[in-house]
Symmetry: C2
Subunit: 335 residues, 2 copies
């Protein structure tokens, strides 16, 4: 080997340039080792979740890379929020095709860095690999909950109320608005409202600010990523219960209400479309007012949409006349 | 929604069929929740590492899927071994093109399951996504070390000896034998020896059995994944030292020795090729005999190949006459 050998590999340069600045946690060792080391807060369990997004499947190749990066992190943060866990950090595995530009990478790192700060969730490690396929971003997020306190899908009981944060359906409508350019005009949707829906698809707003509160009050929770209907079923089945939702109570943004008033059939898109990254939770009726008040003080609206009943995983969405909505595709799946 | 709605999505079916059986850790909740929960052993730090492999880059698309799965896990286990960490489990993110068959998936899950048992490293969670590109397997492995005890790259000191486990260069030669069908014959390599080298490329043998011993004795360590020369440099730079290796002491398998006797220039492939997944460690001279004896009792040969000297990251590979070997490509990188 040359005695003056100091040239780092391309991967090392890429890491040093774009990702080292995001790895300020001392246990990340400035990404200069094979692994990260973490000391868990006393009395806490570790919570681990992994979610990946792929160009052309979960985002458009032309989406701005800063938002792609933030979405990749936020879909994982959303899982931590719904489990009542505080973020400790994340590992990032990035599969990059050869033609990815420095501009794209700089934007990606910049967006990621903004969320590292915003959510207090440092980069701990990861891997960068070449691919002949699309950009693929795999993240493993690590969080902490009080020992034994991870909020499960399986704790819902008959009599519990069903709550949801924020508004439902915005991201699915945002995606539809991108695919169907005439929809906004057909529905008389103002540009500002259209942009807001499209933005909700691009950039989820995970409810990490509520994690501790959810852990204290909820009997079960799940984040709404595959659609309200499908994710409610995923909570009911392991809980061994059923659910009834009043469609009229599902919280909608002004944009969603505008579209729905012209195209009522899009209620199916709203309750099954996914990408909401809101939290769906159950809790006893006596806890609701306190929970809602504290959530509101933290800036998050919470809406009661229905109740848990005795059953075996069935979920019913009832219209104003009490008739169940028949859904063609109850949950979104790429498979 | 239909009241009899019990149909799971395709992704749920895939997980239930192939991956749930590998998730026996109670904190994996049978992959039926959004996250896993782990209670760390008392007095331990968490160690986290992530490595991905991509079809056509890190393995051949036609490689048997059971070995692909095991390789994906083992490259991560190798990092834990070199950091002195005991495996606690792993998260798997699998990006699959549409044409992946059930046979491929069944083989993948079967290989993975074999290593889950062999290394005591349960599946804790993960994600399954569609891709228009090649099969991409991202794994995050989680381990434990005594508090403050993660073995670093940066602890090597002038005067320390350099050790390596097993044999070096086999995987790189195995890859070369697959690409250059005439090489085996040119070198008079017996089929059994050829197969053994090819197998070493397909299926690394990470040295997790040595993790605790390394933690007790080594001053620094790294697993050899990008080639002995490059990884030695990656250990020397953060340690602020230099290294001298005697080429003649680098441990070679019978197959590697046979090839090298006919094609001496392949010494470069051996020391820079990578995919060895052996451990490169440094320790003071007084510890070597005890370490080697205990490692041998655990079934792993350890060889002293050189010494750490004062310097600034330089690494020299010396021939029998003390002349430094000049390497064209000191370390492997896909970038």
């Amino acid at each position: 080997m040359r005695e003056d050998e100091t040239a780092a590999s391309g991967e090392d340069r890429l890491i040093a340039r774009y990702f080292r600045p995001l790895a300020r946690h001392p246990g990340a060792f400035a990404l200069d080792d094979d692994a990260a080391a973490l000391t868990l807060p006393a009395g806490c369990d570790l919570v681990l979740t992994a979610d990946a997004i792929v160009a052309g499947i979960h985002f458009f190749p032309e989406d701005p890379s800063d938002k792609v990066a933030r979405k990749a992190l936020r879909v994982n943060l959303s899982d931590l929020a719904a489990k009542g866990a505080r973020p400790l950090g994340f590992l990032l595995t990035l599969a990059l095709p050869g033609q990815v530009s420095d501009t794209w990478l700089a934007g990606f790192a910049s967006g990621l860095g903004a969320d590292v700060e915003l959510f207090g969730c440092p980069l701990l490690g990861g891997d960068t690999v070449r691919t002949s396929g699309p950009v693929t971003i795999s993240i493993t997020a690590v969080g902490a909950v009080p020992h034994g306190g991870m909020l499960r899908r399986s704790g819902a009981q008959a009599g519990d109320r069903i709550l949801v944060t924020g508004t439902i359906g915005d991201a699915a409508l945002g995606l539809l608005l991108r695919r169907d350019r005439a929809l906004a005009e057909r529905c008389g949707l103002a540009p500002g409202l259209r942009d807001r829906l499209v933005e909700r698809y691009l950039l989820p707003e995970p409810r990490n600010v509520l994690a501790q509160l959810l852990g204290a009050h909820a009997s079960a929770a799940i984040d709404v990523s595959d659609g309200l209907a499908g994710d409610l079923a995923k909570l009911c089945r392991p809980s061994g219960v059923a659910a009834e939702v009043e469609i009229a109570r599902v919280p909608l943004s002004e944009g969603a209400r505008t579209i729905l008033s012209r195209e009522p059939a899009l209620i199916e898109t709203i309750v099954t479309g996914g990408d909401d990254y809101e939290v769906l939770a159950t809790m006893s009726g006596g806890r609701i007012d306190g929970f809602r008040r504290q959530a509101s003080a933290l800036g998050v609206a919470v809406t009661e949409i229905g109740k848990i009943i005795v059953g075996k995983g069935e979920t019913r969405f009832l219209d104003a006349a009490g008739r169940p909505l028949l859904l063609a595709h109850p949950s979104f799946s790429h498979f």
